[in-house]
């Protein structure tokens, strides 16, 4: 740059003024060229990455977030939206956090409504009796409504939580970081904690498309028919010792019966969409879910034999205690039978939820999205809600049947004092992690391989397992 005028010196007139200021300066400098200071070389800033979110620090803090978000969040609509979001999230979150304690309080409310004397302000105050004399039926109705609300919230909060968790876990499995930003304008930037909630609002606001070729009513009913049996199936699920919405003698059968109904919704969605890919997905889903019901049911027969009951509370209690004071008497630790049953039940549960490696009904690379190709907005997200609810159901069942329910794994004081619902939740979350781990690790089966796997492998082995369990009962457990 700086030596350009010197080159042009022999013919300055021919040059159409390369730099008018420089040309007269160059002429006197012909004898002794004055070295002009070179312009400072551009040195790009050293990129510094934020370890928390993998984003460039300078980018993160100086450029776009303030710009973009200053504008966007100053819009009144977004402020309202944010307020609603925070309200919804806090409401659901607090309810969910209080599941364990709330059920204790709910039992107290039940007793009070039934006429038991209580302190006026619960912890202090004069002892009084509930002024209205309620019929036992009304008390039960209120009591049931409370429990239904709790279970419903479990399913909804689980949707919020587990989608966020799946995104984060899949991200870290795949050497990514996942959501990092959503929710940070609140001032609390915790790994994109608000991602699912904001996604949910987005889905609510999305256009709800019904294809022209679709059967309107069946298309609209299908998501409900997928998610409703799932919520119903949560009734006898054990969240901790004595924490069931409904204490059913036949709890296990009840859960399996209702969980099997969802397949009708899948078939309806596939058929009613008027799309060939959806149809194929629906058919595949029907074949798969019906097939995997069998090994799923038979795999826990040894558990039922050992526990001697279908009641989940009894099954959980049957696993109390420790062998030699150390090894918990969980069914998963019963040699051979426990592990085999656990693996079969886990595999069948993954297949029930239509997740990889058994996601052939919604195989993205083959059937675009399978049975929910033609769904959008909230209807689409209801399918997802159902999927994650089934994952949660499977996790709680695994924890109840094989991991000792609310029992502590370590027979020592600080651990045994932890409330049973915490252990239960922890075990269920561990199992949920296993579900996610499997999904993000394995490829997908083919349809016929899937069927071979269940009919020729899982089902025979679950029968063998039942036979071994019979031998245990006859000679060991007596």
């Amino acid at each position: 740059m700086s030596d350009k005028p010197e080159e042009k010196k022999p013919e300055p007139a021919a040059v159409p003024a390369p730099a008018p200021a420089a040309a007269p300066a160059a002429a006197p400098a012909a004898a002794a060229p004055a070295p002009k200071p070179a312009p400072p070389k551009y040195v790009p800033p050293t990129p510094v990455f934020n370890r928390a979110n993998g984003r460039l620090i300078e980018d993160r803090f100086t450029t776009w977030p303030t710009q973009v978000f200053a504008n966007r969040w100053s819009r009144p609509g977004f402020q309202w939206g944010a307020g609603m979001l925070v309200g919804i999230f806090l409401g659901l979150g607090l309810t969910g956090f209080a599941i364990g304690e709330l059920s204790v309080w709910a039992a107290r409310v039940y007793a009070i409504l039934g006429g038991e004397p209580f302190k006026k302000f619960f912890l202090f105050g004069p002892t009084v009796v509930f002024p209205v004399k309620l019929a036992p039926l009304a008390v039960d109705a209120i009591w049931t409504a409370i429990k239904v609300l709790i279970v419903l919230h479990v399913v909804l909060i689980n949707g919020l939580w587990s989608i966020w968790w799946e995104r984060k876990i899949s991200a870290h499995i795949q050497s990514r970081v996942g959501p990092t930003y959503a929710g940070s304008p609140s001032g609390w930037n915790f790994h994109g904690w608000a991602q699912t909630a904001i996604d949910g609002i987005k889905l609510l606001l999305k256009e709800d498309i019904t294809p022209a070729a679709a059967d309107k009513w069946v298309h609209a009913l299908a998501p409900g028919l997928v998610v409703a049996p799932c919520i119903i199936a949560f009734a006898p699920v054990l969240f901790g010792d004595g924490m069931q919405a409904a204490n059913l003698d036949i709890g296990t059968l009840y859960i399996f019966a209702f969980a099997g109904i969802s397949v009708i919704g899948v078939v309806m969605a596939g058929w009613a969409s008027g799309n060939k890919y959806s149809l194929l997905g629906g058919l595949r889903g029907a074949a798969q879910i019906v097939s995997y019901e069998l090994p799923r049911g038979f795999s826990i027969v040894p558990v039922l034999m050992f526990a001697g009951s279908l009641d989940l509370q009894v099954i959980s209690n049957a696993q109390a205690g420790y062998w030699h004071g150390v090894i918990p008497r969980w069914f998963i630790f019963y040699p051979v039978v426990g592990q085999l049953a656990f693996v079969i039940f886990l595999i069948a549960s993954v297949a029930e939820t239509n997740r990889t490696p058994f996601d052939i009904p919604e195989a993205e690379s083959e059937l675009v999205s399978g049975f929910h190709t033609e769904y959008s907005g909230m209807k689409w997200s209801i399918f997802f809600l159902a999927e994650y609810a089934y994952v949660l159901l499977g996790s709680f069942l695994l924890a109840t049947f094989f991991l000792g329910g609310g029992a502590s794994p370590i027979n020592a004081v600080p651990f045994t004092l932890i409330p049973s619902w915490m252990w239960m939740l922890g075990k269920a979350m561990l199992m949920m992690f296993v579900f996610l781990w499997i999904r993000w690790t394995l490829p997908r089966f083919r349809v016929d391989q899937l069927m071979d796997f269940t009919w020729k492998f899982l089902l025979p082995w679950s029968f063998v397992n039942i036979a071994i369990a019979g031998l245990y009962l006859a000679f060991w457990l007596k």
């Binding site: 499995i173 050497s175 059937l367 490829p443 997908r444 083919r446």
Partner: protein, 380 residues
């Protein structure tokens, strides 16, 4: 027992008729790798008829070349197989150099080899990742792209482009590789070698993956030869043919490498050929960097706008997807009189129509993914 009906009986019973269903697989479909359309007629899950339909990405580059000079044509070549554009540049330059009588320098040859092999790695990584997605495994894709990103960064560092490079020029290459670039390439190679073993644990020997691909879409050696397949699709069937070995160009005869060959020609063999080729590419790049000759990176003493004497030339290279050939005819002008591309993707795709019949819908994706086509090259 005797009155029970087997599945075979049921399918041959005249009163139990099943409808055939026509499915449009593509041109907008997640797994057709571009804009390929296959008209599938299925019965249940089984294909009874498959009609591939191409041409959605036709841009007429062969015709365009007739109104551009030889330097400009290199730009067109980038757009055929956009996943590995370096061999495209190379094959055109080889043919044009034959026609114009230009002799390249040893350093340019070595740089061309390095770039082509780097691009083969990038291309096979893309195949590895998308094949995983085709079969339902999402994680390998992101692992592969993590490494592919580094290759593209190296390309960007050298020639400023990440996809359409225009790096290999008539008579040599665009710019010389700096010591800094060679150092970083060496670092990448060191980083990349253990990653290849990681891929094997992730996907190659995964039991579900093997069940999905072993014994699926078998192409025998005779079939492969009669369909004129090339590249990993041919070698997967057990035919040992690699242009780098059998008609060496750009000094490939100076490097020590093996040609991975499959056994039975199933999808897994084609896949495994590609994964093994990445190891061989690593070997070639290491050798090329170790003995990179000094000297100019561009030949001198030829016309800036070449006007080759009337005649014709054919050059072919082992591109990432097979034997990529180019035929150039000159009438003495500044543009080619005719350019014709022997495109491996197009020829490899031809087997689809026969092979798909009788397969399951899931296997369509497995086979299509294992052929590894790029529609830019199929349609040109």
């Amino acid at each position: 027992m005797s009155n029970m009906m087997t599945a075979a009986d049921a399918s041959t019973m005249p009163e139990l008729k099943t409808d055939q269903l026509f499915i449009n697989l593509g041109p907008q479909h997640p797994s057709t790798h571009g804009v390929l359309r296959i008209g599938l007629t299925i019965e249940g899950e089984v294909i009874v008829k498959a009609v591939p339909d191409i041409g959605y990405l036709h841009r007429g580059t062969e015709k365009l070349a007739e109104v551009r000079n030889y330097h400009h044509c290199v730009v067109l070549t980038d757009r055929w197989d956009y996943v590995s554009a370096m061999p495209n540049n190379l094959v055109f330059c080889l043919a044009a150099e034959k026609l114009a009588g230009v002799k390249t320098t040893p350093r340019a040859d070595a740089l061309r080899v390095i770039m082509c092999e780097m691009n083969r790695i990038a291309s096979h990584l893309l195949f590895f990742g998308t094949y995983g997605i085709d079969l339902g495994a999402y994680t390998p894709f992101l692992y592969a792209f993590r490494e592919r990103e580094m290759v593209l960064d190296l390309f960007e560092m050298l020639c400023g482009a990440r996809l359409t490079y225009n790096y290999i020029r008539l008579g040599g290459v665009m710019v010389d590789a700096s010591p800094e670039w060679l150092k970083r390439t060496g670092e990448f190679i060191e980083y990349f070698k253990p990653r290849l073993d990681e891929y094997d644990t992730l996907l190659t020997y995964n039991p579900i993956f093997m069940a999905r691909t072993k014994g699926v879409g078998i192409v025998t050696a005779e079939e492969a030869k009669s369909w004129a397949l090339s590249g990993p699709n041919l070698r997967g069937s057990g035919v040992n043919y690699d242009v780098r070995k059998f008609a060496p160009y750009s000094g490939y005869e100076n490097y020590d490498f093996d040609v991975p060959v499959g056994t039975d020609g199933s999808c897994w063999d084609r896949y495994f050929c590609r994964v093994s080729e990445m190891r061989q590419s690593v070997r070639i790049i290491e050798q090329a960097i170790a003995k990179l000759p000094a000297g100019p990176f561009m030949a001198s003493g030829f016309a800036k706008v070449p006007k080759p004497v009337p005649g014709e030339a054919y050059a072919h290279v082992e591109a990432s997807r097979g034997d990529l050939g180019i035929y150039l005819a000159s009438d003495g002008g500044i543009s080619p009189f005719r350019m014709h591309v022997h495109a491996p993707s197009f020829i490899n795709l031809a087997m689809l129509q026969e092979k798909l019949v009788g397969m399951k819908v899931s296997d369509v994706i497995a086979l299509l993914g294992s052929i590894d086509i790029v529609l830019g090259e199929v349609d040109r």
